[in-house]
């Protein structure tokens, strides 16, 4: 399976991944723009408004009917943060012709719908339909506020927000309540006209269709796309380190406390940091899982994530309020163990096997590959799953220890109960 990447127009690229194993074709059209506070809400709202309808299918019922008739094809707006860019636009899937009665061709009509949604939205007096803008604005505001419903996600968001204050990486990918509440139909329309003309557009296809056919579908998607010159994409800025680690505490009426610990890594050996993090908290075989959960029974989950583009590591765990210090001490003790090289041989072999498994199996999922390749584009990289895997497997114990020594505590976040002891 070899990936092809090619330009299709000014600042428009296609990433093509042939695969015969899937029952479906995967087609995405995502704009990539630098993540900025004001623009984040506009782009998120715009994606939702565009999904409401186009000139040919002016409301959601007509649009869904068209998709249903393509044997349940699916189009949804997707907004993501990758590196310090915002990815926004559409992801579409359809059952491959090979599995349909009469082998009906559904990829072309699906591509046409994507092109219509992006280039021919429903307008009223030259503006995006006010009804759609206002109701999607309400929905987006609801979505922004609903982050409190998922306490684990809330804690992760709050940790990054506090840790990366003043950096784009700390921003929400769907915008802030106050900014979104103020968006008018006129403002969104102006933004639409400039954004679709100036933003980088990335098209991605994975499925059975030949390259030539896919290029044809994509050319139709962008047939009416205005191009005015690149707004460019942002390369990740380095995280500014702080003198003393900070401690942030929020209170809510919850049954379980959520602990988030953020570390900065002062090392350019990212492959080593990646392997170090895998051993530290990246798997159910990691030091955090085996000690914070299995040995001390403090939690159900304790894991860490490596934010490669920013060189940050974040740990997340759900614990009883009174176990805050105990859990934090154990997390730091496990990092200390990594610094000393205090691990058994199988921990490293296990981590290497998990890394190999994770990268090799990526080719078995069209959406994981899409997320990987779009992440590469958004962080200015051109790695492949294979190249990253090979580099990680070559990392030595010395480099792992050095990576752990380059890792230092930056921010501790704790979401605690309302009546919890303050010294918890």
């Amino acid at each position: 399976m070899t990936k092809t990447r090619m330009p299709l127009a000014e600042d428009v690229y296609l990433t093509y991944v042939p695969a015969v194993k899937f029952k479906t074709d995967f087609l995405s059209a995502q704009f990539i723009t630098p993540l900025r506070r004001e623009a984040a809400g506009l782009n998120a709202l715009l994606s939702a408004v565009l999904e409401r309808g186009c000139v040919r299918y002016p409301d959601m019922q007509q649009l869904s009917a068209a998709l249903d008739l393509l044997y349940g094809a699916n189009v949804e707006h997707v907004v993501r943060k990758r590196g310090e860019n915002q990815l926004w636009g559409f992801v579409a899937t359809c059952v491959d012709d090979a599995y349909l009665p009469d082998h009906a061709a559904v990829l072309e009509p699906l591509g046409d719908i994507l092109g219509e949604l992006i280039c021919h939205p429903v307008l009223e007096d030259g503006r995006l339909k006010a009804d759609y803008v206002l109701s999607e604005r309400t929905n987006l505001l609801d979505a922004i506020r609903s982050v409190v419903n998922d306490k684990r996600a809330l804690a992760s968001k709050r940790l990054l927000e506090e840790m990366c204050r003043g950096e784009p990486y700390g921003l929400s990918h769907i915008g802030e309540e106050a900014d979104v509440a103020a968006i008018t139909p006129q403002q969104l329309t102006d933004h639409y006209r400039s954004a679709i003309a100036s933003s980088r557009l990335e098209l991605y296809y994975c499925g059975r269709a030949e390259l030539e056919r896919v290029v044809g579908v994509c050319r139709r998607i962008i047939r009416d796309l205005p191009r005015s010159g690149g707004a460019g994409i942002a390369l990740p800025s380095p995280h500014s380190t702080r003198g003393e680690p900070q401690v942030i505490r929020d209170q809510m009426d919850v049954a379980q406390g959520k602990l988030g610990v953020g570390f900065t890594v002062d090392s350019s050996d990212k492959d080593a940091v990646f392997v170090m993090n895998t051993m530290f908290g990246g798997t159910s075989n990691s030091k955090l899982f085996l000690n914070v959960r299995e040995k001390l029974s403090l939690c159900y989950y304790a894991s860490s994530a490596y934010h490669r583009s920013k060189n940050l590591i974040t740990v997340s765990s759900g614990i009883e309020f009174e176990n805050y210090q105990k859990a934090l001490d154990e997390i730091l003790a496990q990092l200390e163990a990594m610094r000393r090289g205090d691990w058994e041989e199988w921990e490293l072999t296990g981590a290497r096997s998990c890394i190999a498994n994770g990268h090799q199996s990526m080719a078995d999922s069209a959406s994981r590959m899409e997320d990987f390749y779009m992440g590469q584009v958004a962080t200015g990289r051109d790695d492949t799953p294979e190249s990253l895997m090979d580099a990680a497997l070559a990392v030595t114990p010395e480099r792992i220890m050095a990576a752990a020594r380059a890792t230092s505590l930056d921010t501790t976040y704790f979401l605690t109960g309302k009546e919890a002891q303050q010294d918890a």
Partner: protein, 423 residues
């Protein structure tokens, strides 16, 4: 092993039932790098009361899930680590009806399969290690208690059912799990983890004969007796309670409406019923339904709105919900629209459109190894061939859906669960 091909689906399945009663399914997936194995027992959160040696046993809520956690303990340590050392991604889950242990791997597949079959069939825990797990599972329960999606569902089940164990949370409560001992866990393992109560499903590009050989070599030679289970007396069509409300730290009200359906049949009829239920959902409140459009445009619902038809041991229900500022209005509209469709009939063009989409949806689900494995296991437990779904689907008529809506989506059968923001 016998080979079955399904040309329309592009799928091949190898199947065999071993002398010990274990049902074996190998779903061939050429071109894939990963392979997975699901080892599933027909034993879930609802199997609280059952017969052993002629005696009825009552066990604490949450015991099947507790046992799932403890099965990973082995004589030499922990099976999670054994599998992870080989690069496998192991996991397990317990639902109302089943417990499934599985792994995905790209390397050492047969070694991993051996480990999976061994640790699930050989319990190894002590009173001490069982007690230690209280802390971990206690935190898992605390975590879901803070999850509004879980609370709204749990509260609905308690409204809908009076006696059925469907109303009991799969993980139990912090209190109920305190009664669990090593001895009860061993009893439950002996009863339910017998080859004749289990299915092994492997999905991937693997050698079926080698899978069968490993299963024969590792698992016990004999199966086990049939286990009579008690899911409570026959429920009345009416819910135990019409409505329940709870306050939580949420940003806006969340609701889940449920409609209690009759006890589901076994065999291919069950598969047929589940497809009818799914299509009824699409037609009544799916993204392309007139009701969805109206409620969305009136601002009564948002993208979180949706639902499904679900079959449990001895019980079936349809649920629908999401975030809404006026849940009662949405609830009334759903019941009214179902009755209107039952009375006036579904538009023929719309029905054909939904049929197409539903067929595509079933094909699409064959991308997921997990969906395939669970569907195959369910098929074995309930005596149907899941991959025969295109024929079963072809037999469904518009009148089937209309009857389903008219009879089940009624005021008499419904309950409403609400989560409101704390003031």
């Amino acid at each position: 092993m016998r080979e079955h091909t399904y040309p329309q689906l592009g799928e091949t399945v190898w199947e065999e039932t071993l002398p010990n009663g274990l049902a074996l399914r190998v779903v061939s997936k050429p071109h894939y790098t990963k392979a997975c194995a699901f080892f599933v027992t027909r034993y879930g959160g609802m199997d609280l009361r059952f017969q052993r040696g002629g005696r009825w046993l009552d066990t604490p809520a949450g015991i099947a899930h507790y046992l799932e956690h403890k099965m990973f303990d082995t004589k030499d340590g922990n099976a999670l680590q054994e599998l992870a050392k080989n690069g496998a991604e192991p996991n397990a889950f317990t639902s109302n009806a089943i417990t499934a242990y599985y792994f995905y791997s790209t390397e050492h597949f047969y070694d991993n399969l051996k480990i999976l079959l061994q640790f699930v069939s050989i319990p190894y825990f002590t009173q001490e290690s069982v007690e230690k797990e209280q802390g971990i599972i206690g935190q898992e329960i605390r975590m879901v208690e803070d999850t509004p999606d879980w609370q709204v569902y749990q509260q609905l089940m308690e409204c809908l059912y009076e006696k059925s164990p469907a109303r009991v949370s799969v993980a139990g409560t912090v209190e109920s799990i305190r009664a669990i001992t090593a001895e009860t866990l061993y009893d439950c393992h002996n009863a339910f983890y017998t080859p004749s109560n289990m299915v092994l499903v492997v999905v991937g590009s693997v050698d079926p004969a080698r899978v069968a050989a490993i299963a024969r070599a590792v698992l016990p030679e004999s199966g086990g007796p049939e286990i009579p289970r008690d899911y409570g007396e026959e429920e009345s069509p009416a819910p135990a309670k019409g409505e329940a409300v709870q306050e939580m730290e949420v940003s806006m009200p969340q609701f889940l409406a449920g409609y209690k359906c009759p006890t589901p049949p076994e065999g291919a009829e069950q598969l047929r019923l589940s497809m009818i239920g799914d299509m009824a959902c699409d037609i009544l409140f799916g993204d392309s339904s007139p009701l969805y459009r109206r409620l969305y445009e009136e601002g009564l619902i948002n993208g979180s709105f949706g639902g499904n038809f679900d079959i449990l041991p001895g019980a079936a229900y349809l649920y629908v919900g999401g975030d809404a500022n006026d849940p009662h209005a949405v609830h009334r509209s759903i019941t009214a629209e179902a009755q209107r469709l039952g009375r006036e009939g579904i538009d023929e063009g719309f029905y054909q459109q939904i049929r197409r989409a539903a067929y595509g949806q079933m094909i699409r689900s064959l991308n997921s190894f997990e969906n395939i494995a669970i569907a195959q296991a369910e098929g074995v437990f309930h005596h149907y061939d899941y991959y025969a779904f295109p024929e079963v689907f072809a037999s469904i008529t518009k009148a089937d859906i209309e009857t389903f809506l008219r009879e089940n989506i009624t005021e008499e059968r419904t309950a409403l669960s609400l989560i409101l923001p704390k003031v």
